[in-house]
């Protein structure tokens, strides 16, 4: 599975799954599959400490989240102990429910972090940059330039530091960094000037505030506002329909605007990502799962996704469907062994 688009689909499905449930069993299951997936990939990419590091992070997050929650949220029935009431804000009952809630929060945050971490492992920087839509080509070129210049700037900084050291600069205080930063920035900016000449001499697209791009901008503003409005309506408990309409309107318009803006930029790409059968299968599978999810939600088979320790601590209910869905983020495991 090497195509960036497939991994994008993977991250979307994983994120949606993670954000739609608080059921600790499911989240633990997802975490396990993520760790397995990440562990396998990180071995391939020669990062042997990956699992350890992320496990550490997960545990830290859980502890932190639990602590914060039990200190600040005082609802729940099962009392663990009581802090004096007159302590500002943290005073009050410390309950088991809030402990569990905090722990679950930590699990979710940790899982989210893992998902992104795996994405970092799997996609190269170049692939990530190429994912930026054509509508944002100037920014993407700017990012590319930064990435290209970065190693030479590091090298240059070292050379300058050494030359100034031999000159007698003792490098003690903040002002001793001046002899390094100033030549570095000046030389880099002079290089930037030459680079921009090179860009221009090769026919690089310069800005043009044409009417179309202005229209695009205005349309984009409205589209974003539509999504925002949809959210506000949802928050104030207006009928779901209004929100759904606004969301769809907004998001479809945004995609449309990007396509139009992208067409304005006359750019082709030399490197094409090669679609393997595995990629196609994975995409197909994702759509099937998405369809299944929608179906299951409508028939209310997924009530087990909603879980709350309050007001009384109870064991979360589990269903077969939930089990299967939680393991979905681990599907790439099947495919990457063939990479």
């Amino acid at each position: 599975m090497t195509v960036s688009a497939t991994w994008l689909i993977w991250i979307s499905t994983s994120l949606i799954l993670l954000l739609s449930t608080r059921n600790p069993i499911y989240i633990l299951l997802t975490l396990t599959s993520l760790f397995l997936l990440g562990g396998k990939i990180s071995l391939k990419k020669e990062q042997p400490n990956w699992t350890k590091q992320n496990l550490r992070f997960l545990i830290t997050t859980i502890i932190l989240s639990t602590l914060v929650n039990i200190l600040f949220a005082h609802t729940g029935q099962t009392l663990l102990f009581i802090l004096p009431e007159n302590w500002p804000l943290i005073g009050g009952s410390i309950t088991l429910e809030s402990l569990v809630y905090g722990a679950v929060n930590g699990l979710v945050i940790g899982a989210l972090y893992l998902v992104f971490n795996i994405l970092n492992l799997v996609l190269s920087v170049k692939q990530i940059t190429r994912l930026i839509p054509n509508a944002f080509r100037p920014i993407s070129i700017m990012i590319t330039i930064s990435l290209t210049f970065f190693p030479s700037i590091q090298r240059r900084a070292r050379e300058i530091r050494e030359a100034q050291m031999i000159r007698g600069n003792k490098m003690k205080g903040v002002s001793d960094w001046l002899p390094i930063i100033i030549p570095l920035i000046v030389t880099s900016l002079e290089n930037a000037f030459m680079l921009s000449e090179s860009l221009t001499a090769r026919g690089f697209y310069s800005k043009s505030s044409t009417n179309i791009s202005n229209l695009n901008l205005i349309a984009l503003v409205f589209a974003v506002f539509a999504v925002f409005a949809g959210w506000i309506f949802r928050l104030y408990n207006y009928p779901v329909v209004i929100s759904v309409i606004l969301y769809s309107l907004g998001i479809i318009s945004i995609i449309f605007i990007f396509i139009i803006a992208g067409k304005q930029v006359n750019v082709t790409h030399y490197h094409q990502e090669v679609w393997h059968p595995r990629d196609i299968i994975f995409v197909g599978l994702s759509f099937i799962i998405a369809g299944a999810m929608i179906g299951l939600i409508r028939t209310d088979c997924l009530s087990s996704f909603i879980y709350s320790p309050y007001p009384n601590l109870s064991f979360p209910e589990i269903s077969v469907f939930g089990f299967i869905l939680s393991a979905v983020p681990g599907i790439p495991l099947i495919f990457i062994s063939h990479d």
């Binding site: 929060n105 990530i128 700017m142 930064s146 990435l147 960094w177 000037f193 860009l199 791009s213």
Partner: protein, 222 residues
């Protein structure tokens, strides 16, 4: 959901800045500055200094101050993005970081009319103003960054910040949460900012003055 709105706002701001400003000169100019700032962010983890001190604020503030709010926004947001790419840290908090750093750059531009109005240019007062600004943002940055995560932690379910009992109580709860988690870091960051900006701004501003002339121009045809 909040995250989605966040990302959309970010996209909107970037789109606007791009269509109005970015030509090959600015792309190269900012591209290089961002590479330098990303390098400084690298140092942030490598330097044996107190945790929290962040050298990237300096360039973002000065760029926004000197060149205007939109360039400042780009500088801040893209520094976070590029340094995230380089350090392999594209994470769920990246949009938050990008917007907050973007606001840092954007708001720095507000200092300009203040300094010009009080005729502080090229004087020590200018540097003091910038340093204080850096100190404020040292703390403000932490405050805002934590805000993005607060809904996840420290609230009871069914109570979003909108619906909780009144604004004052929310602020109170948030302050306690904030103090517990990140105030110490933010204070060291502010102090770091004061020092860095204090020492390095004057020469940096002069560099910007010299390069401004080269990077913009007037065509006169006879």
């Amino acid at each position: 959901m909040v995250s989605l709105i966040l990302v959309l706002c970010l996209i909107l701001l970037l789109f606007e800045t791009q269509s109005s400003l970015l030509d090959s000169k600015l792309i190269a100019f900012l591209g290089v500055l961002i590479a330098i700032n990303a390098g400084l962010r690298f140092l942030e983890n490598a330097l044996p200094g107190p945790a929290g001190v962040s050298p990237i604020f300096f360039l973002i503030i000065l760029t926004g101050y000197f060149f205007g709010s939109r360039i400042g926004f780009l500088m801040g947001a893209m520094t976070m993005f590029v340094s995230g790419l380089i350090t392999g840290g594209v994470g769920p908090w990246l949009p938050g970081q990008m917007i907050t750093a973007g606001w840092l750059g954007q708001s720095s531009a507000l200092l300009k009319p203040l300094v010009q109005g009080l005729k502080w240019q090229h004087k020590t007062e200018e540097i003091i103003a910038l340093s204080i600004f850096g100190a404020i943002w040292g703390i403000l940055y932490g405050v805002i960054m934590n805000l993005w995560f607060w809904p996840f932690l420290g609230t009871t379910p069914g109570q979003t910040w909108l619906q909780s009992a009144g604004l004052m109580e929310s602020i109170g709860r948030y302050s306690a949460y904030y103090i517990a988690t990140s105030l110490v870091w933010d204070i060291t960051r502010s102090i770091g900012n004061i020092l860095i900006i204090g020492f390095l701004s004057r020469p940096m501003l002069r560099i910007f003055e010299r390069f401004e002339k080269r990077f913009s121009f007037i065509i006169v045809e006879t």
